[in-house]
Every structure is written in structure tokens, then in C-alpha cells.
């Protein structure tokens, strides 16, 4: 019966209602606005920050909980009827379509280092943040059930899913102390690499900043005093960096959040 239920749900998800979108405009499908940052998923913040940085015309569609990409991912784009999933592939697609190169003023070595930073943040730091939020620290940090407006059975389902996914990936096999240790190492690497610079690679923002800001936004604005935030506060240059990115690329930040689910975001 469970198998039948899953097949029915998946078939319904596949039936997309074709809406008429403006042409030559990126349609950014995401799950909706977050309580204190534009999204509770770092990849949506990353992608939208990139769209703003690259000054590409785009529209937000907050429907990806029920309207997922073909790869089952929550952040995806549509452009003139063509679907692209995964934030990195979306960025590459947009770079190619609109002839954009945000990294053109940096050397090969700097771009190489930037690529490594993006992979570290999206493929490793991400799992430590997810474990903090859904498994280790839901009570002492962000009150997921209250602030994310999620019913308690779903909270436990998502927590179990995160445990299973992170176990398969590898980070989830460590003890809680070890996960905190590797999270600290990643944050320290970001802090030391950033140093006194304005942005990750220098005085100008680059593609790497979108990934880093997306991930750090979850700790900076969605941790509420949890263990992750305690570690993060050891690196004040990262906090200053987040505020700088927000001021530069999100002047309408307050219109893009729900203030703890007390209102609907106007943008």
C-alpha cells in the first residue's frame, strides 16, 4: 500500500501545470520565503543572490515543494520552457545563455581556489548545517517546528531523512562532537581565506560569494543561538561579510522574509 501511495504521489508531482511565463526571463522555482532570510534552503539564497549579482531578469515561483525538478531537487529554474536543476548547473546555464562571467577579473589560481571553496561549502559544510538543524540542535538552536511552521510528524520524517542521507554521504557517520569539529574547520577555513578582504576573492564579488553567502545565511539568520551559531561567532569577519552581502545585493531584504512566519513576504 505504501508503494502504491508513493507511485500516486510521484505521478501527481510529475503532472506540472503549465503556466504562461514571460519569455527571456528566468523563472526561479523555490520553496518560498524563510522567517529571517529569503529562504530556509541555502541553495535558493545562493541562486537568487547570483541572479541579482548578474542582473539577470527573473521571477520567483514559490511552488517547488509540490513542483520539483526532474532530479527531485527543490531549487531549479525554467527559461523559455527549458528546465535546469541543481544550483551549479543553473548558474552555468545562465552564464552561457546571457554571456556572463563574474570571475573574469580573477587569475586562474584564484578561480581554482574559489571553485574549491564552493565545493567545500555546498558538499560538506551543508551537511553539518543540515545535521545541526534537523538532528542535533532543533531545541537549543532554531526551533524548527515553531519558526519553520512544520507539523511535528513531518519534522521527524525530515530529521530521519537527513540522518540517512548524511550517513550515505559520510559526514553523518561521525559523532556529534566530530561533526561540530569539522564544521568548525570549514568555518575557520572560510574565515582565514576571507581575511580582511571585502569578498571571498578580493574587492569585487564573484560567483564563489553566492555559494558562501547562501550557506552562511542559514547559520547567520536561522540558528537563533544554537551550537552552530556559537561556533560561527568565533569568526566575526564572516558575520561582517554576511551583512555586507545583504546590504549590497539584498537592499529589499525585509520585503523578502516572513518575520518568523508572522506575515507574508511582499516579494
Amino acid at each position: 500500500m505504501g508503494i502504491v501511495l508513493i507511485i500516486v504521489i510521484r505521478k501527481r508531482q510529475k503532472k506540472r501545470i503549465k503556466k504562461a511565463y514571460p519569455s527571456n526571463t528566468i523563472i526561479h522555482h523555490q520553496i518560498g520565503r524563510g522567517p529571517y532570510a529569503p529562504s530556509i534552503t541555502p541553495f535558493a539564497v545562493k541562486l537568487e543572490t547570483y541572479l541579482r549579482m548578474a542582473k539577470v531578469p527573473y521571477l520567483n515561483e514559490n511552488d517547488s515543494v509540490t513542483n520539483r525538478s526532474s532530479k527531485g531537487k527543490l531549487t531549479w529554474i525554467e527559461y523559455n520552457g527549458q528546465e535546469v536543476a541543481d544550483s551549479e548547473f543553473c548558474i552555468q546555464f545562465i552564464n552561457k545563455t546571457f554571456n556572463i562571467d563574474l570571475d573574469k577579473n580573477f587569475s586562474d589560481e584564484e578561480i581554482g581556489a574559489g571553485r574549491a571553496i564552493q565545493r567545500m561549502v555546498d558538499e560538506h559544510l551543508h551537511w553539518t548545517v543540515a545535521l545541526q538543524r534537523w538532528v542535533y540542535d532543533p531545541k537549543h538552536g532554531i526551533d524548527v517546528r515553531k519558526f519553520l511552521n512544520i507539523p511535528w510528524p513531518m519534522f521527524y520524517m525530515v530529521g530521519n531523512l537527513v540522518k540517512k542521507q548524511s550517513y550515505a554521504q559520510g559526514v553523518g557517520r561521525h559523532s556529534e562532537e566530530e561533526v561540530l569539529q569539522v564544521m568548525d574547520e570549514d568555518l575557520m577555513a572560510l574565515s582565514k581565506f576571507l581575511g580582511m578582504k571585502k569578498f571571498m576573492l578580493g574587492e569585487q564579488a564573484s560567483q564563489t560569494d553566492c555559494a558562501v553567502f547562501g550557506m552562511l545565511s542559514q547559520i547567520h539568520w536561522h540558528s537563533f543561538g544554537g551550537t552552530g551559531e556559537t561556533l560561527y561567532k568565533k569568526y566575526p569577519n564572516l558575520s561582517a561579510y554576511c551583512e555586507r552581502m545583504k546590504a549590497k545585493f539584498w537592499p529589499d531584504w525585509n520585503e523578502c522574509i516572513t518575520e518568523g512566519w508572522t506575515r507574508t513576504a511582499s516579494k
Partner: protein, 317 residues
């Protein structure tokens, strides 16, 4: 099954005939048969059978987990200052089919740390391999093992790096071990249909089938496994390009002295270079990213002069 159906029909007919008062049918129905008939009719028997299967499977699972976690005793007495490296066996063309085993063993060689290999095919405390035993401590995960030994043995492999270089080193280690690794896993278990290297390492067809299923599922869960081949080629090209651009013309990633990240990069690239022959990433390393190809051979020549003694199919190259 045919027998039980016949028996069930016999029991039904006997009970019906008894009710109709037909005395000619011999009464061979026992109390057990009556109970079985009643249970079968109400559906209780299948439920009990299902519960019994679940119980037996759970007991088997607990026993297997106990065996895996039971205290591991070294095969023989070794000096206290020797690291015991638990290994899975040699690869056909590189010392291991696991990039993490090669990474950790290369680290031990670069730091000239005395070690002994235990080829017992046992998983470590977290279900990972390689794992080490040192001074009474079991440690799993190649990176945690390296961090532990650096502190315990006061190893200075990264001491020549600046603060910023250490940050870059962490980023590259995370990239190759947490991302490039999954591209390799998906390539070897999904796109490489022949799996020649595994067959050369004497893997049986059952082990290959089960491992392929589990690894593809893990890659899907991680995320990389959801992309098609063209997309994965693009992903791996970006990773190789980042490594190549940063390495440039240097001997090692941070100059003329090796550091920890060189062990990580070598471990991962070795699988593309020696255990995915004829694949597109293999061709990329040989044609587009020549400095990475030369880096791998440099690491091999410097730290593995006995390479041919540590592989199953030695060659002259």
C-alpha cells in the same frame, strides 16, 4: 504449496460432510487441522508468518552488528609506536581500489611514520575503511586519522603553509574527498559496465551486483548520482580544472614540499588514472590536464618506489 491446498480442501470437505451428517467420510480431521483452517480463513497465519520473518531478520541483523563491532584484536603483537592500517586489499593497477586507503597510506609514507598493513577486510567503527589502530585507540575516516596522527606524533606536514594556504588546503581536501569522489563512485559503478579492474581484483559477480546497487543508491542520495553522463563530465571537468589551475607549474600543491592535500588529491586522481582505463575522465587527465597527470606520476615516483610490489598486475610503466 500444492500439498497444503489439497490438505485445506480435504479439511473443508470433511468439516462440511460432518455438518451434513455424512458418516461415510472418515473423520481424519484433528484439532490442529481445525485450528489451522480457522487461522487460514481469518488471515492470522500470514500475519504470524510475516512477524516471524521480521523477528528472525532482526535477530540476524543484531548478530551481524555485534560481530562487526566486537573488539578487534591485532593479528600479532606489534611495537607501540607502529600504526596498524586496516586495509581492503591491493588494486590491480594502484595499491588500492579505495582512494581513501591510498590517501592515508601515502600520508604515512610522506611523513615516514612506521606502519603495518592488516588486510582483514573488516570495516572500522563507523562502517568505513581505512581505519587505524594506534596506541590502543581505533580511529576511522582517513581525514580524522591524519588529524589524529599529526597531533599524536607531532607531524609537521602542513607547517610550511601560511594561514591562507591552510584554508585553501582545507577547501581542496573537501572538494576532492566530498565531491570528486562521488563522481568517481558513480562513474565506476554505473557508467563502467565492464568493471574490468574489479574483476582483475577477483571480485565475484554477486559482490559486484550488490555493491553496484548500494553505491548507485548512495550516489543518488548524495546528489551527484542524479546527473546524467554529460552533466557529470562537465562537473568533473570543473573539478579537474580547479585543481589544474591551482597547481599550475608547481611540483606539489603548495610548492616544492608535499602537504596533506597532496595525499588527498593523489588518492582520488589515482582511481581515475589507473582504475578507470578508457573512460572520459581518464582521457581528460592525460590530454587536457597534463599537469595533474604529471603530478600523479611524481607522487608515485617519490613516495611509492615499490609501486609494482603493491599492485596485483605490475607493469613496466
Amino acid at each position: 504449496m500444492l500439498f497444503s491446498r489439497c490438505r485445506s480442501i480435504f479439511v473443508k470437505s470433511t468439516l462440511i460432510s460432518r455438518r451434513l451428517g455424512i458418516a461415510s467420510v472418515e473423520n481424519k480431521v484433528t484439532d490442529t487441522d481445525k485450528r489451522m483452517f480457522e487461522m487460514n480463513n481469518t488471515g492470522t497465519l500470514p500475519v504470524l508468518l510475516a512477524l516471524a520473518v521480521i523477528l528472525l531478520t532482526s535477530i540476524l541483523f543484531v548478530i551481524l552488528k555485534f560481530c562487526r563491532n566486537s573488539k578487534r584484536v591485532p593479528a600479532q603483537t606489534v611495537p607501540e609506536d607502529v600504526v596498524l592500517l586496516h586495509h581492503c586489499g591491493q588494486g590491480p593497477h594502484a595499491p588500492s581500489l579505495s582512494p581513501f586507503i591510498l590517501k592515508l597510506e601515502t600520508f604515512l609514507r610522506v611523513t615516514q611514520t612506521p606502519y603495518q598493513i592488516i588486510r582483514d577486510y573488516k570495516m572500522g567503527p563507523k562502517g568505513k575503511v581505512p581505519w587505524i589502530e594506534y596506541s590502543g585507540t581505533n580511529m576511522c575516516d582517513s581525514q580524522l586519522c591524519m588529524e589524529y596522527l599529526k597531533i599524536k606524533l607531532n607531524l609537521d606536514l602542513d607547517d610550511h603553509l601560511s594561514v591562507k594556504e591552510k584554508a585553501i588546503s582545507t577547501a581542496f581536501q573537501r572538494m576532492v574527498d566530498e565531491h570528486t569522489y562521488w563522481v568517481m563512485v558513480h562513474w565506476r559503478w554505473d557508467f563502467d559496465r565492464e568493471k574490468i579492474c574489479f574483476k582483475q581484483a577477483n571480485w565475484g559477480s554477486l559482490a559486484l551486483t550488490v555493491s553496484a546497487y548500494l553505491q548507485r543508491r548512495a550516489a543518488w542520495t548524495q546528489g551527484v548520482g542524479r546527473h546524467n553522463k554529460e552533466e557529470l563530465l562537465e562537473i568533473v571537468r570543473k573539478d579537474f580544472s580547479a585543481l589544474s589551475d591551482f597547481l599550475g607549474t608547481k611540483h606539489f600543491f603548495f610548492g616544492d614540499r608535499p602537504s596533506c592535500v597532496d595525499c588527498s588529491v593523489f588518492g582520488q586522481l589515482s582511481q581515475f588514472l589507473w582504475h578507470l582505463p578508457g573512460s572520459e575522465p581518464n582521457a581528460m587527465l592525460k590530454k587536457e590536464f597534463l599537469n595533474l597527470y604529471e603530478f600523479c606520476h611524481r607522487m608515485k615516483d617519490h613516495f611509492w618506489p615499490d609501486w609494482n610490489d603493491n599492485i596485483l598486475l605490475p607493469t613496466n610503466s
